[in-house]
């Protein structure tokens, strides 16, 4: 009888196992790099916030003109998207949860800083606190996230702070207590001083933030004017 020997079966088993181990190692390695990247983004955000806080503490008593709303929200947004992706696709659960907690803390700090700037310097800042859950299959939350992402793209002035209700973090618990958020009524939004629960569409949120819409309209009008002026100048130049 022809056929493969027992040795060959073992040899092939070892090679197959080696390919498997390599695939797992490669995947782990890439995941670790991704987490490292998240860590370094978070570090830089933390430094920026600390620096803004310090700047604010130094200058607030004297003048408000040097205090600018930091450009952090953009960075916070990309970080939020990356953490979201990692939670769904990378294996290292414990590490991702740590990252998520840190991220939530940074959000709260940024939120507090912005509150202070608004109060003392009379700058108009628009923020939304958004509470969602990952514990239950919350399709309303998924829809709400799409709406908020779309709003952020439409209004760069808008800062959205999103919090996973089920994250075990004392600072977040305090925030939940302050705004009396209940887990049965998610998604929940805090827009200015108003609390709403359940899904809110783009139009509904825009109605609650008329000033934000106004700023956008003014900006668009200004841009249009500049464009008209530009083309008028060009026409004049050609005319000459």
């Amino acid at each position: 009888m022809q056929g493969a020997t027992g040795k060959r079966y073992i040899f092939v088993f070892i090679i197959t196992l080696a390919i498997f181990v390599f695939a797992i190692w490669l995947s782990e390695n890439i995941s670790n790099r991704k987490i490292q990247q998240l860590n370094s983004i978070q570090e830089s955000i933390a430094i920026n916030i600390l620096s803004s806080e310090t700047q604010f503490a130094l200058l607030s008593e004297l003048s408000c003109k040097d205090v600018s709303a930091s450009t952090l929200s953009g960075e916070l947004n990309t970080l939020s998207e990356k953490i979201d992706f990692s939670e769904k696709n990378l294996g290292n659960e414990a590490e991702i949860i740590q990252l998520k907690k840190y991220y939530s803390l940074l959000e709260i700090k940024d939120y507090l800083l912005m509150q202070k700037i608004t109060e003392r310097c009379d700058q108009k800042l628009f923020s939304i606190l958004y509470f969602y859950t990952t514990a239950t299959n919350c399709s309303e939350c998924v829809k709400q996230s799409f709406v908020l992402t779309s709003l952020r793209e439409k209004y760069p002035e808008l800062r959205v702070y999103s919090f996973d209700y089920n994250l075990d973090l004392s600072a977040l618990d305090a925030l939940v207590a302050i705004f009396k958020i209940e887990d049965t009524k998610l998604p929940a939004l805090i827009i200015g001083d108003t609390k709403t629960t359940g899904f809110r569409s783009i139009e509904e949120i825009e109605e609650m933030l008329p000033e934000l819409v106004k700023i956008r309209e003014e900006r668009e009008a200004a841009a249009l004017e500049a464009e008209t002026a530009d083309s008028a100048t060009t026409a004049k130049l050609i005319g000459e």
Partner: protein, 418 residues
Amino acid sequence: MGALQDTIFYVLSFLSLYLQVFLLITFLDRKEDILIRRKPIKLKHYPSVTIIVPCYNEQGTIRKTVRSLLNLDYPMDKLDIVLVDDGSTDGTFTVLKSFSDIKNIRVIQKENGGKHTAINLGLELTKTELVGGLDSDSFVHKEALKRIVSYFTDKETMAVCPSIIVHEPKNFLQKAQKAEYDMSIYTKKMLAFLGGIHVTPGPFSIFRKSVFDTLGPYTKAHNTEDQEIALRMHYAGYKIEHCPDAYVYTITPNTLPKLYRQRLRWLYGFIRNAVDYRKLWLRPKYGTVGILTLPFGMVSLWSLLFLFTFLLIQIIDFVKSKILKVQAVGWEQGAGVGFEWFYMKTGATIFILIAIYSLVTFGLLIGRRMSGERMRLKASDIYFVLVYRLFAPLWIMKAMWNSVWSKESSWTNERKVK
């Protein structure tokens, strides 16, 4: 993925990868022994051969099939052709009769009784040293018989299978099958090296007549008599060879219902025969067929089913999320984040699938080379992946279901759909 889904994935993909590595190692070890002859050969001795052609409603192709046999480069006084009409209801018998004047052709008509009865009738009339069949939808290469016969110089070889190539693939289903058939040339040769061929296909597998004298004629064998005889031979310790340069061209199903019925019959037969011959399973005495071919054949069925389910879940999730997005913000799409390596999926499953598919592609390329074509991929090979990912689970599930309830799918039924 859930933990259960993960475990199933890892077990099935490990076994699939194991089989592919096994084939690769065999290839690397034995590649010098793969004999591909491009020019006509001469044999020292031409043994007498009978070719039996069972026909059922094949008036469209049978003429070409017989002509290809008459065109074989083999001494005609050593070649007998028996054409058996298995009670066709179309003009097949009239076509067959037109050949009855030729000296070495015999035409027989019988009542319909299934393919195995038609071949068995031919076997009763066979007086030659070697005997084989040719399905009436297939044509042989001029050199095929000589090349196959050359393998019988090894006294231990009891049967030799050819390489089957899809005849003039036209639509996407046939092109998908072409890739599959090309790949199976590679698989078959490697299994032949290992002594693990589990089917001696109807089109032009040639046997020593003594096989049937000793082991008995074909049986119904769940309408896959060509699988059963191979397993019976393994049980008797017979050696089955594969001649990669003996080309047989076959017409493959060109519509989904026809393909479905053919595959249902094959798979149902595979499952039932594998169960009937469970005495071969995992017994080193019977070699590779019991340790590798049959168990891994079953594994590949489950793998295809699992991959299909896995894909289906992903598609459903994707559609669900799209629907939610449209409900939330309408059809208007945002600018998007653009490409960033961070968002590439890099789970271990991806790399394992890449490894398996690379080895499968390698097999396809080698098979293509053995079939005499250039060693390159074609755009239409993607149909193979699509058809087998999307449709194969249909006939796999149905074949499994039928196996449990013993529902047969017949050869004649398959031909009625034409």
